[in-house]
């Protein structure tokens, strides 16, 4: 099975390339990128082939691809891939607006190609344990959930993360969707109301919101909060983290998805080194299985669409200063 990376603007392309090379039965073909300087740098570092456009990579023959371009560029790439019958694993959030996200879902459905949203947290063993605990009622009935997905200012990885047009927003767009998806997965029902407050006190030099607190109401009456702030300083020992806690009528459990780590002090620096399961690898292995026909896709385009809707509703709420309906 042949695979490519469509766009190298997203920092995850740096790790996905190694995951694709490690995936059983997958041949990594190369990466497509229209920015030739970025492409040259990327292909040199990863000893990979480069293609100057999506069409050239498609013409080289790929069965599936991972879309890693800036968020607003996902749709045209997905349209090209779907038209050529190439299966799509798309970086999150799917798009910068609901229409584009819906269109991504629709074109893949119409073309009969698999579409999966890149939510690697669905493959986290600790979060899967949380899902199981809720399913089995081990904390009784869930009352509320709190989640934090904070990180560095990501412009160090790529400036477009703080570009309103390319990313669709800042911290809210970047960090709301993972937890919104985990909450939908755990609760098995849909968000129907969102309240959000945002600010720009951290890194005021960027033109988008850097702090955000989002409250999500679910159809079942359960409510949840998501702290999506870019509040980890530059010298924080890692990129950030994801923690989530569920409070139920019979107990409480907490998941720190990146707790499996070493604290390493060396060369005057402190860093956290993960030793837990590689969720990116598990996600890609799963998608390969889906393309091969072993099982359905676990995280669909619809899941990506719903999570994107929560982030977009957060912006509407922050502007109005009141909760909004999703």
């Amino acid at each position: 099975m042949r695979a490519g990376i469509f766009g190298v603007g997203h920092v995850h392309s740096e790790s996905y390339v190694e995951n694709l090379r490690a995936a059983r039965g997958v041949e990594f073909v190369g990466a497509a990128e229209t920015d030739r300087f970025m492409l040259a740098d990327w292909t040199k570092r990863h000893h990979a082939f480069g293609y100057a456009s999506d069409d050239e990579l498609i013409a080289a023959g790929v069965d599936f691809g991972i879309v890693c371009s800036p968020t607003n560029a996902h749709l045209p790439t997905v349209e090209r891939m779907a038209a050529a019958g190439v299966h799509v694993l798309c970086e999150k959030p799917l798009a910068t607006n609901v229409d584009d996200a819906q269109r991504i879902v629709d074109v893949c459905a119409a073309a009969g190609v698999h579409l999966m949203t890149a939510f690697p947290m669905r493959f986290s063993p600790s979060l899967a344990t949380g899902a199981e605990w809720i399913r089995e009622g081990r904390i009784g009935e869930v009352l509320a959930i709190t989640g934090t997905n904070r990180g560095h200012l990501p412009t160090g990885y790529a400036p477009w993360f703080a570009d309103l047009k390319l990313a669709g927003g800042g911290a809210v767009m970047d960090h709301t969707v993972h937890l919104a998806d985990v909450m939908r997965w755990w609760l098995g029902n849909e968000p129907d109301e969102v309240y959000a407050e945002t600010n720009r006190i951290l890194h005021p030099e960027v033109a988008v919101e850097t702090g955000g607190l989002v409250t999500v109401g679910f159809e079942s009456g359960v409510f949840a909060t998501i702290d999506c702030s870019w509040s980890r300083p530059d010298n924080y020992p890692t990129w950030g983290g994801l923690e989530i806690e569920a409070v139920g009528t019979e107990g409480v459990f907490t998941v720190d998805a990146f707790a499996q780590r070493f604290d390493v002090w060396s060369n005057g620096q402190t860093s956290w080194v993960d030793w837990g399961s590689d969720t990116n690898q598990l996600m890609i292995d799963h998608f390969v299985g889906a393309v091969r026909g072993d099982h359905p896709v676990a995280v669909t385009g619809f899941d990506g669409l719903r999570a994107t809707e929560v982030a977009l509703a957060a912006y509407r709420s922050a502007e109005r200063g009141q909760p909004v309906v999703v």
Partner: protein, 326 residues
């Protein structure tokens, strides 16, 4: 000069405050607790007299320490002020913002001190964190996360469950962190909150506070955690840095579970001096004219006002904007 202290009430806080007054070198000489079964033994332990009336107590003391149920605070404050006796009052200052503001105005007009026991300001992790903020180490405060999660007070504390008397988990428990949030991030402009109230619990609340300076606080207050548990946490992120509380206690042990759960939850502390003692020593110093109050009476009233807005948000399912707080 040793102060003569009269305590109103003989419940959990009365006993805690009394121990603090002793450590401060002052003396609890009178207790008013008509109808309380615990008053006799508390008075005997302290070598204090049981007063037959409030007037009799006020005539015999330098300061009154009001540790009665919340809805009775204003009445006791009024009479003390009229008698020219300085007042220490357990938090919250009043059951409503109006009551709290009245208490402030009455004491100001009478020229008596009004010191409100927001004890969290005397817990070193909270005061040291605030010192770092004041020293400017974190830059401008952007996001604050505060959590106080425990079980529902049982037994003698049954009035806590009477919303009309106590204001429930928001006014009795969450107010600690609302006060702290104001202390580190300033006046509150807008609040949004959700509450779950499963049968038999005292409720679980998540609130978002937007401060006038733009900072956002996430406050969790819960009386729905499993019996015996008491958890607090604190994190402050600013434009120049991040402060996170190292959660582990300096002493930990693994022993078979005990059934010995205190009726009214109190946070675990492993410190040479209990923060409750630190608080009473501070109050004593203020009453002796040796220190300025760390908690101003207007701060105490403002915390009640924010909590009232949180309750209004819960009831109306809307964000609530606060009036011109001082």
């Amino acid at each position: 000069m040793t102060l003569r202290v009269g305590i109103v009430g003989a419940g959990n806080m009365a006993a805690t405050h009394a121990a603090g007054w002793n450590e401060a070198g002052d003396r609890v000489t009178h207790i008013l607790a008509t109808g309380s079964t615990r008053a006799g033994s508390l008075a005997a332990d302290l070598g204090a007299e049981l007063s037959d009336s409030y007037e009799e107590l006020l005539a015999a003391v330098d300061v009154v320490d009001i540790c009665s149920p919340t809805d009775t605070h204003l009445g006791y404050v009024e009479v003390a002020a009229a008698s020219g006796v300085s007042v220490v009052c357990e938090k919250p200052l009043g059951r409503t913002a109006k009551e709290a503001q009245e208490a402030v105005a009455i004491c100001e007009a009478a020229g008596v001190l009004l010191l409100v026991a927001h004890v969290v300001r005397f817990f070193p992790e909270y005061s040291v964190a605030r010192d770092r903020v004041v020293a400017g180490e974190l830059g401008d405060v952007a996001t604050v996360r505060l959590d106080r999660s425990t079980y529902f007070p049982v037994g003698d504390g049954s009035w806590f469950g009477d919303h009309e008397r106590s204001g429930g988990v928001v006014l009795d428990l969450m107010i600690h962190d609302v006060d702290y949030a104001r202390w580190v991030a300033g006046d509150v402009e807008r609040v949004y909150a959700r509450r779950a109230e499963p049968t038999g619990s005292g409720g679980h609340v998540l609130a978002t506070l937007r401060h006038r300076g733009g900072a956002l606080s996430h406050v969790q207050g819960s009386w729905a955690f499993p019996e015996g548990s008491f958890r607090t946490s604190l994190e402050i992120a600013g434009s120049e840095g991040l402060l996170t509380l190292h959660a582990s206690e300096p002493f930990s042990a693994l022993v078979p579970e005990s059934d010995d759960v205190s009726a009214v939850p109190q946070p675990p502390t492993t410190l040479a001096e209990s923060p409750y003692v630190t608080q009473m020593k501070h109050f004593s110093a203020v009453l002796h004219g040796l220190a300025d109050p760390i908690v101003s009476a207007t701060d105490a009233a403002a915390a009640v006002e924010v909590c009232e807005a949180i309750l209004q948000s819960i009831d109306t399912c809307q964000a609530v904007t606060l009036g011109g707080a001082s």
